[in-house]
């Protein structure tokens, strides 16, 4: 697939990951407040990890093209943007683990004592996804593939 088409797919899947991760976090918080959303949490146990894994796979596929075509220019003329991109990659990796863990456990663990820990995990994962998405949009606006 063409690199620009992959970049577009990465952006679309990125939005899907951000919104499904946020939706899952919202359901987890509501469940922790005492109103269990079992069906929604069970649904997002599959939707959020699928969206996050798909956007990560797409991002990994275009990462080499970024390194060859874009990163060298950033290193010379905008090193701060190159560092911001690195930060985005690290945040995306942490969000991947958090969203998958929180969604999978949240969908199947019904014990009340697990609700707040899972809500916290989900919220941190969603926050990292949002941060990575905003940095990704900024870097792409500075220099698309």
């Amino acid at each position: 697939m063409n690199d620009r088409a992959l970049l577009l797919a990465h952006a679309v899947l990125g939005f899907a990951a951000v919104f499904s991760g946020t939706h899952q976090a919202a359901h987890a918080v509501v469940a922790a407040l005492g109103r269990p959303h079992r069906r929604a949490l069970r649904r997002f146990a599959f939707i959020a990890p699928a969206a996050v894994i798909a956007q990560a796979a797409c991002g990994l596929a275009i990462y080499p093209a970024y390194r060859v075509r874009v990163r060298a220019g950033f290193d010379l003329h905008a090193p701060m943007v190159a560092q911001l991109f690195e930060l985005k990659e690290h945040f995306a990796a942490l969000a991947l683990a958090l969203v998958i863990a929180a969604s999978a456990a949240g969908g199947f663990d019904r014990r009340p004592e697990a609700r707040w820990p899972l809500a916290a995990l989900s919220c941190v994962g969603a926050a990292l996804l949002w941060t990575a998405a905003v940095i990704g949009l900024y870097v792409t606006a500075r220099h698309p593939l």
Binding site: L60, Y63, P64, A65, R67, V68, P79, M80, Q83, L84, E86, L87, E89, H90, F91, A93, L94, A97, L98, A101, A102, A104, A105, F108, D109, R111, E113, A114, W116, P117, L118, A120, L121, V124, L128
Partner: protein, 102 residues
Amino acid sequence: MTRAALAGVSVFALGYVLAEPLHLPVLLYDPWTGGVTLSSAVATRSMRYFGDLLLATLAGLAAAGLVHRLPARMPIAVAATASLSLVALDVLYYLSRLLGAS
């Protein structure tokens, strides 16, 4: 399930942040030649990201699998605090690298 997930996140966060400073050997990908090597190098033109991510993922999955089989010993709240503290340390470490480079 939650304990296993928390253990997975903790070990992932630990493995991901330590792989580069400890020079752990991981898969390196050279985007110019397409070559893949196993190396502990950190300052080459090759990319460590794939290797670090793979290492942390495998370690996290192994930890989750192990904790899933073991009897529960730690309260979930303590395990969650430990997991989120490790994630916070990762975030602070990468933010400090960003601010140090600017």
